[in-house]
């Protein structure tokens, strides 16, 4: 009985997590445009999706912005984390608190203030302003995911590397960086996801001609979300699933090798 309850509880959690996605995928094959009725099976929305210039452009914008901002934010954030880690206590506390503020700050404040900054400095809103905004809000997340790894690090590791003849740069690149790599990778993935996810900040900082997926989907609110979006979301979900499976397979393969 206890086992049954345990299993049932877990099943319930996964049901709540995955039922919405499942329904989304099912309705991407619905012949009717309405979400209320099932009118038969069709691949039509998938075909239309690839013909839709606007959605395809938004998809490529979203991906380019996400990858670029994640990578740049990871580089800046990791360097910042190492710097902050080596600061004196008081200075470190101040800087870390400054890092936390953008994270807890509501998106709307970040978005609006970035827009005001761009407009005030006569910076043309568009692709570059959008990218800069995404890098800006991604950096703190990278710092926060790298910091714990640095704290776990043995203080003397860096000194030992220097003793053994490494230059300071080599010591960081070949000793410190591999040790904190899991944190860096988490930061990168987090930054990528947050960037794909973001609507509020993107909405305020993008200019004419540059839309992301979230902006396009939101703008469909008046006439109803087109089922093409269901098809696109299903494809994105399957891509992520596939990536996860590949990563997991490779990791378990590597573990076996080590054993």
């Amino acid at each position: 009985m206890k086992r049954f309850l345990k299993k049932g509880y877990a099943a319930l959690i996964y049901l709540f997590l995955y039922a919405p996605i499942l329904i989304l995928i099912v309705f991407s094959f619905n012949a009717s445009k309405s979400r209320g009725t099932w009118a038969g099976f069709t691949f039509n929305w998938y075909l239309q999706l690839f013909k839709d210039r606007q959605i395809m452009k938004a998809l490529s914008n979203t991906m380019i912005i996400a990858v670029l901002s994640a990578v740049i934010a990871t580089v800046i954030g990791t360097a910042a984390a190492i710097g902050i880690h080596n600061m004196k206590r008081l200075k470190k506390t101040i800087v870390m608190n400054l890092t936390y503020i953008p994270v807890v700050n509501p998106d709307i404040v970040t978005g609006l203030s970035l827009m005001l900054l761009f407009v005030f400095s006569n910076f043309q809103l568009g692709f570059v302003s959008l990218l800069l905004a995404h890098i800006t809000f991604n950096i703190p997340y990278v710092i926060l995911s790298v910091m714990p790894k640095l704290k776990q690090l043995d203080k003397h590791l860096y000194e030992a590397a220097l003793d053994l003849g490494a230059t300071p740069f080599e010591a960081y690149r070949k000793v410190i960086l591999p040790e904190i790599m899991p944190g860096v990778f988490t930061g990168l993935l987090l930054a990528f996801t947050l960037s794909v996810d973001d609507f509020v900040i993107s909405f305020f900082t993008t200019g004419s001609g540059v839309s992301t997926l979230s902006i396009i989907i939101y703008s469909m609110a008046r006439r109803g979300i087109n089922p093409k979006i269901n098809a696109l979301s299903s494809l994105l979900f399957l891509t992520v699933l596939l990536l996860l499976i590949i990563v997991n397979l490779r990791m378990s393969g590597e573990n076996k090798k080590k054993e």
Partner: protein, 348 residues
């Protein structure tokens, strides 16, 4: 790690190359920035325009007039053609945000029906060319409502307890109550507004939900008997379910327009006018009307449409049925009173 590091570097380089290439590959054509409602155009029309005039179109979308207004007002965005609704056009004219159109460049303006010219939001018709129009009315399910639907009063009928859907939009819902009581939708009379508030509070127990776009799914699925909807959506829903019918209340209602305008900040006004003129070409206007299913103000489009649609009061109501139909006016500061009334209704 080295492998991963190189991978990172590779990705960065690749993205930079893509970025540079994509910006280099852009042609020297004039770029026209168009800002329209989401899913509110037949997209093949844009390709046709680009080929015909050798102008590149950047097409973006918004979801409310207010979103669009904020973007333009902030000065950051750089659009050449916008598609706002009536009251927003009025507001933008008042705030000197729109450029006067040169109608010599828009000869196809002649196709717009006379009754859609010189409307209150643009009295001299200097700034805008109508794109789509429609009404607000009652959509009902014939299997649940036996009596003829002719009046807003049916939304206050105890028989339909918990079977009524209202719009979660303050001006539309307060407007319905005002019209039911026989007042103007743009009233600035506090007594009339208080009466509308009382009516809405009285109606509240009967209302199943205040809804937005989900009204479509709910009505198609037969979850409610009556709903306040925009006419264009009514046409869509009727195609999905034959049980649904649309009625125009005799007390009058809201008549709305989305029109094409050019903001003062536009750097390509001549091209923008070309675009507006192109959108009024009979073939193109028909393609859009056919895709969107909203009512077109275009004379020639009506000749090409399916006669069944033309006789549908949801799509093309007869002129004589549209007495007492008000177009929303920009309320300016008085909007605060509407805000307060709506908050009081929702909080009751």
């Amino acid at each position: 790690m080295n492998k991963k590091g190189r991978l990172f570097l590779g990705v960065i380089m690749l993205m930079l190359v893509v970025l540079v290439l994509s910006s280099c590959g852009q042609d020297k054509r004039v770029v026209l920035n168009v800002y329209n409602w989401g899913d509110y155009i037949d997209e093949s029309v844009i390709d046709t325009f680009e080929k015909k005039y050798n102008i590149r179109v950047n097409y973006d979308t918004f979801s409310t007039n207010e979103d669009m207004y904020v973007k333009i007002k902030s000065g950051g965005a750089n659009y050449d053609v916008l598609f706002p609704s009536d009251y927003t056009i009025e507001r933008m004219i008042k705030e000197d945000m729109l450029a006067k159109l040169d109608f010599n460049n828009i000869p196809n303006y002649k196709y717009i029906e006379e009754r859609f010219k010189n409307l209150d939001y643009d009295p001299q018709n200097e700034y805008s060319v109508p794109y789509m129009w429609g009404t607000v009315g009652i959509l009902y399910n014939k299997t649940m409502v036996d009596e003829p639907v002719t009046s807003w009063r049916i939304l206050w009928d105890q028989k339909y307890n918990k079977q009524i859907l209202m719009l979660d939009s303050q001006r539309d819902s307060i407007g319905v109550a005002l019209k039911m009581l026989g007042y103007d939708m743009n009233t600035r009379n506090l007594e009339e507004l208080e009466a509308a508030k009382e009516a809405l509070i009285q109606q509240k127990p009967l209302v199943l939900a205040y809804v937005g776009d989900d009204v479509k799914d709910k009505m198609i699925a037969g979850e409610a008997a009556l709903a306040v909807v925009w006419s264009g959506d009514a046409v869509n829903m009727k195609q999905e379910s034959s049980d649904l019918e649309y009625a125009l209340p005799r007390e009058g209602s809201n008549l709305w327009f989305d029109a094409m305008v050019v903001p003062k900040t536009s750097k390509h006004k001549a091209e923008a006018e070309k675009f507006i003129n192109f959108m009024c070409e009979p073939e193109i206007a028909f393609k859009n009307a056919d895709y969107i299913d909203y009512s077109s103000p275009h004379r020639e489009v009506k000749k090409m449409l399916d006669p069944a649609l033309l006789n549908d009061p949801a799509a093309y109501p007869k002129e004589e049925d549209l007495v007492n139909y008000d177009i929303f006016k920009d309320l300016g500061d008085y909007l605060k009173v509407y805000d307060r009334i709506w908050t009081e209704v929702k909080a009751h």
